[in-house]
């Protein structure tokens, strides 16, 4: 099993969710986050006082899938979240040791 975590541009969420649903992904967690990467921040000016805003708002999505689905999910996210502009985000993939569905007590593949 794999845990796929992706940082994406906020307005790309719906496209990504639709493509993952089409692949059969059953669930997803979304968090509003701030961070920086290659994309520069911007400057805000209030009555002449300038503030550099270096942390930009992004969305973090987390999806747990069976190992054989991982490549298709990664491909779907990277194609749908892509604008070609700097700041499109990143995808992080890790091995997933255990999954439990709280309601039924099902584990691992049955719980995904």
């Amino acid at each position: 099993m794999k845990l796929i975590m992706a940082i994406i541009k906020p307005f790309k969420l719906d496209e990504v969710r639709e493509s993952l649903s089409a692949l059969g992904v059953q669930g997803m967690t979304v968090t509003e986050v701030k961070g920086y990467g290659r994309q520069k921040g911007h400057t805000e000016i209030y009555r002449g006082a300038e503030y550099a805003v270096s942390f930009l708002p992004k969305l973090k999505i987390e999806v747990a899938v069976k190992a054989e689905m991982a490549d298709a999910v990664i491909e779907a996210i990277s194609s749908k979240a892509k604008t070609g502009q700097i700041g499109d985000g990143k995808i992080f993939v890790t091995q997933l040791a255990q999954v439990v569905r709280i309601r039924t007590g099902e584990t691992d593949g049955d719980a995904l």
Binding site: I45, Y46, R47, G48, A49, Y51
Partner: protein, 443 residues
């Protein structure tokens, strides 16, 4: 009055016919001609001016501070409103707007006969406002006395103890505002001298701005000023606050006619024109220099215009209002953004840059643009050729600036020695809301 006269007629056996006629005659002469239209407008105006402070000014300021100090900033407007209301009832109105029986003192301070408003009977009328009940005039002037000290809160934001703030508001009201209001409006020396201040360019705005300048220098800069992010936490509140100020200001300026007449109408028109012009003046200056027309710039410009047209509103024609507005937008932009940066003082929300500079500018331009055709009690320089008015306006500005500056310094020194002015660095870092008031804004 008719009832009392007929009672006297019933008891007429004890009095001669001549006495009766004289009594009835003097009673009729003393009968105040209270006008219902004027009274309705002045109660409305008083409520509008109160709306300027709570929630108008409170929201305008609270939106500009950081989230951790938002409630503390609202508490300053609200707390000032309540403390000043009570003090105005106890002594403020008496020393500002009632005559001093000692003629040698009357140019400087009013009398003490109106302590606790005791002589203010149901039918009482002030000679300063002969067509409305004195209760309404006292209330109207109370709302001015409330907003003037409350304006100072913009300069001391984010770092003053609430206890010291309330002491400061109280002492400043009685020792600075009340005397100056008496000088200009209450029969004192500046009004007699001929100073034109329709609704408080010097009495209210230069006065509050000067006090703001002094208090921000004495408190010192906020921790992290110039290095940490102090961006306004929610400008939407400031937009709502500025809009409420704009609406409430019709009570302030048009209400200062103290009647519902042609002067009130022209003051309302001048106020609207100058405010819009100043918002555009600030916006286009900023657009040109800083490349973007900010929302904070537009609302700041509008407030600057309201401030500058305040002394002029009942004296100038619409073209005068337009010019004063544009000048206020441009000049207050320069003072709040560039001059502040150059000199490096931390006037947190620009009480001096907007109210001090805008008030002084408006007072001087009142001398230039006042028109005898608009107000028969005024003769200005450019339209009526009365250059002397410029000197009178300058004296008005200088007197308020010097008296307020020195007096504010002394008041703050005394408070600082007794209880201290500023919160501890830990409290300032963590926020005033949780530490001073035990509350925070959730959600």
């Amino acid at each position: 009055m008719k009832i009392s006269i007929s009672k006297r007629l019933v008891l007429g056996a004890l009095a001669s016919v001549a006495t009766l006629v004289a009594t009835a005659g003097s009673a009729l002469a003393a009968t105040p001609k209270i006008d219902s239209g004027d009274t309705a407008w002045m109660i409305t105006s008083s409520a509008l001016v109160l709306l300027m402070t709570i929630p108008g000014l409170g929201l305008f300021y609270a939106g500009m501070v950081r989230r951790k100090n938002m409630l503390a900033t609202m508490a300053q407007s609200f707390g000032a409103t309540c403390v000043i209301t009570v003090l105005w009832m106890i002594i403020g109105y008496s020393i500002a707007f009632t005559p001093n029986p000692d003629a040698s003192w009357n140019p400087y301070i009013g009398g003490f006969a109106y302590l606790f408003l005791k002589p203010m009977a149901l039918n009482a009328v002030s000679s300063l406002a002969p067509t409305i009940p004195e209760s309404v005039y006292m209330f109207f002037q109370m709302t001015f006395a409330i907003i003037t000290p409350a304006l100072i809160a913009g300069a001391l934001a984010d770092r003053m103890k609430f206890s010291s703030f309330l002491w400061f508001m109280s002492l400043w009201l009685l020792l600075i505002y009340c005397p100056i209001a008496h000088w200009v409006w209450g029969g004192g020396w500046l009004g007699t001298y001929g100073a034109l201040d329709y609704a408080g360019g010097t009495v209210v705005h230069l006065n509050a701005g000067t006090a703001g300048f002094v208090v921000c220098l004495m408190l010192g800069k906020r921790i992290g000023y110039g290095t940490e992010n102090m961006a306004p936490h929610n400008l939407l509140f400031s937009v709502i606050g500025a809009s409420l100020l704009w609406v409430g200001w019709f009570g302030f300026n048009a209400g200062s006619a103290v009647t519902a007449n042609v002067n009130a109408g022209m003051a309302a028109a001048a106020t609207q024109i100058a405010t819009a012009a100043a918002a555009l003046g600030w916006m286009f200056s900023e657009w040109l220099i800083a490349k973007k027309p900010s929302v904070l710039g537009m609302i700041s410009g509008a407030v600057a215009g309201l401030v500058a047209i305040t002394p002029a509103s009942g004296f100038v024609n619409p073209v005068g209002a337009l010019i004063i507005g544009v000048a206020a937008g441009v000049v207050c932009y320069i003072s709040s953004v560039w001059v502040k940066k150059l000199l490096g003082y931390d006037d947190a929300l620009d009480t001096w840059g907007v109210h001090g500079v805008g008030g002084a500018l408006g007072a001087l331009l009142t001398g230039a643009f006042a028109s005898n055709a608009i107000n028969s009690s005024a003769k200005g320089w450019l339209i009526d050729g009365n250059f002397g008015q410029m000197w009178i306006q300058f004296v008005d500005v200088a007197a308020v600036f010097v008296y307020c500056g020195v007096g504010t310094f002394i008041i703050l020194k005394v408070i600082d020695m007794v209880i201290g002015l500023r919160v501890s660095p830990e409290v300032e870092r963590e926020g005033l809301d949780i530490n001073l008031h035990g509350e925070t804004v959730h959600g």
